[in-house]
């Protein structure tokens, strides 16, 4: 993908894996059960899943164990906390979004029109750096609240509550 990737620089997907994990620190789920692990689900390649697994290793978020899970075709992603839809899974995206609609699952993707489709966080590449945009409306619809810290570093935020109006 990169035009001239420096060999020692982490690749875009590596960064995305790290960010995916870090998003978990800035999201508040309606029920935060310490005993229940945080599930990072990936709808995409096995390579990315393995990369994410490396990032997560044995770390915890808010005291919760973190599990990485690859969502295979036809599988219902209802038990996930975060669902990543890889751009390679473009055809599945709408089905997956429909499946998690109304459920407290943070949806992330690097699909260019992911926010338009009702996704919550969309990676964008700006000046060769991985950034992201946020759709607050979608998150609110699924009972998730995103930290203002996250919004601060977002490239753009949709559905930002203005003057307290929902």
């Amino acid at each position: 993908m990169d035009a001239n990737p420096p060999t020692n620089e982490p690749s875009q997907s590596d960064i995305e894996a790290v960010y995916l994990f870090d998003f978990g620190k800035f999201v508040r789920w309606p029920v935060n059960n310490v005993n229940e692990p945080l599930r990072l689900c990936v709808a995409g390649s096995r390579v990315f899943t393995d990369g994410l697994q490396n990032v997560v290793a044995s770390e915890r978020i808010d005291g919760r164990a973190v599990l990485v899970h690859r969502v295979v075709r036809g599988e219902d992603p209802v038990g996930c906390s975060i669902l990543f839809v890889d751009s390679s899974e473009r055809d599945r995206a709408s089905d997956l979004l429909a499946a998690v609609a109304g459920k407290p699952i943070l949806t992330v993707s690097d699909l260019p029109d992911f926010l338009d489709r009702g996704g919550m966080i969309q990676f964008v590449l700006i000046a060769n750096r991985v950034r992201f945009s946020v759709n607050m409306t979608a998150a609110a619809r699924n009972d998730l609240s995103l930290s203002s810290e996250l919004l601060k570093v977002a490239v753009s935020v949709r559905g930002m509550p203005v003057g307290g109006a929902q």
């Binding site: 960010y19 808010d62 750096r129 950034r131 992201f132 810290e149 601060k152 570093v153």
Partner: protein, 467 residues
């Protein structure tokens, strides 16, 4: 001096306060910069995590409101510079130092420069380090302010102290100086009538001045008493001298009189002796018997005079042996003697019961004998006479008296009769030596008593005495 001391104290106090304030101010400043670092760090967490230096720089811009902060750097965990901030008009020039791995915060102070490093931690994991560099110029400003305020306070205090000291000079020192001047004048001129001016300034000064004046008054009184005593002493010495001179003259007159009175009988003895020897030669003895009688008489007179003189002398020199003396018995005895010696005379004695008196018995006998014999003698020209011996109480003291109704004396010469050899009657009229009453007076004086006489010519005389 006082001014210097209080000034030094003030400066020291100001210095102490100033250093305390500077130290606490510096600690406060460091603490506030620590707080800034914490806030910046927390606000930079997401920027660091999601690699957003622009957002981090925006966050760092928030440090603008702290004028002490010169520049700040946000570094990632691996020490790479992530975002920077510098105060307006200041170039970024921050020499970072590695934050010791175990510490979450550390600061380095060099002069007025502070470098603070704060580790940014998110969910238990270090995500970066905030470096803040600050100048402590405000401390210098504060020091200058302090200096200025201290100088002003010092100046004000000096002026106030000067004013107060000038007032106290007027209220206290001036009266004290004038008091000291008065005291010096008094001791120099020995003029104790001077008084210090009463002070109106303060009560303490008034008390001091009063005490000083009181002291002066006492000194003045004592001085007067002293000079009075000296004058009195001089007067007394003069008196004594003239008394002594009089006594001396008296003594001269006395010895002259004694010599003269002794000479009389001697002349007569010598004359009779001459006549007797001539009669012997001529062989005629016409009046031998008579001349021998006169010779006897002369020697008797001389013996009487010598006895009287011996009594007089004894009255002056004999030691007093005091005893209970019964004056009545003494008077009765003397009266009996007299009546036995001349039974022809018709004299009535009225002797009262007199209380006994503490005195020398032998000398009191001389007193009573002289007085009663006097009365006997001076009534001898009267056919009938009455002699009364009595006493009366006057002012708690017993006054004894011997009264007769004989020749009496001229009251104007009453005080002369007690002088030795002074006789108010001629020897031919009433015989006597003129020593008896002088002896009586001397005896009574030696007993602490006195004697005086009342009388008129041919109306009798009364001698009063007290023992």
């Amino acid at each position: 001096m006082n001014l210097l001391v209080s000034g030094a104290v003030l400066v020291l106090a100001a210095l102490a306060f100033f250093s305390y304030d500077l130290i606490s101010f510096r600690l406060n400043l460091i603490h506030s910069i620590e707080t800034e670092a914490q806030i910046v760090g927390e606000n930079s967490v997401s920027a660091l995590i999601f690699n957003d230096p622009v957002s981090a720089a925006t966050t760092l811009q928030g440090l603008r409101r702290s004028p002490d902060i010169v520049c700040a750097v946000l570094a990632t965990n691996d020490g790479a510079e992530f975002a920077t901030y510098s105060a307006p008009g200041v170039a970024v020039g921050l020499r970072r130092r590695p934050l010791p791995a175990r510490e979450s915060e550390h600061y380095w102070l060099s002069g007025s420069h502070l470098l603070l490093a704060h580790r940014v931690v998110f969910q238990g994991k270090a995500v970066g380090v905030v470096y803040i560099s600050a100048t402590l110029t405000e401390i210098g400003q504060r020091a200058r302010h302090y200096l200025l305020i201290t100088m002003l306070i010092l100046l004000f205090c000096m002026v106030a102290a000067l004013a107060i000291s000038s007032v106290s000079q007027r209220l206290v020192a001036q009266p004290i100086i004038s008091l000291a001047r008065t005291a010096r004048g008094v001791s120099r001129d020995r003029d104790y009538s001077v008084r210090a001016e009463p002070s109106t300034a303060s009560t303490e000064m008034a008390v001091l001045t009063d005490a000083f004046n009181e002291m002066l008054q006492q000194i003045e009184q004592q001085d007067a008493a002293l000079s009075r005593a000296r004058d009195e002493l001089e007067l007394r010495v003069e008196e004594r001298t003239s008394e002594l001179q009089a006594a001396n003259r008296e003594l001269e007159a006395f010895s002259y009189t004694v010599a003269h009175d002794l000479r009389g009988p001697l002349d007569s003895i010598s004359g009779i002796a001459f006549l007797l020897s001539r009669a012997e030669q001529e062989g005629s003895h016409p009046e031998t018997e008579e001349m021998i009688q006169r010779l006897k008489q002369s020697t008797q007179n001389m013996a009487a005079l010598i006895d009287d003189l011996l009594n007089f002398s004894r009255a002056s020199t004999a030691t007093l042996k005091k005893d209970d003396v019964d004056l009545s018995a003494m008077a009765h005895e003397i009266a009996k003697d007299l009546m036995d010696s001349d039974p022809e005379r018709k004299v009535e004695f009225q002797i009262a019961e007199l209380p006994s008196v503490q005195a020398d018995s032998a000398l009191m006998h001389i007193v009573m004998d002289n007085l009663i014999r006097n009365a006997w003698k001076y009534t001898s020209h009267h056919e009938k006479a009455c002699i009364e011996v009595g006493a009366k109480l006057q002012n708690g003291k017993m006054i004894y008296f011997v009264r007769d109704d004989g020749a009496g004396f001229d009251p104007q010469r009453a005080d002369q009769i007690f002088q030795p050899f002074h006789r108010l009657h001629s020897k031919s009229e009433f015989p006597g030596t003129g020593v008896g009453l002088a002896t009586v007076q001397r005896i009574l004086t030696r007993h602490g008593g006195d004697i005086w006489a009342e009388g008129r010519v041919e109306k009798g005389a009364t001698f009063y005495f007290r023992v």
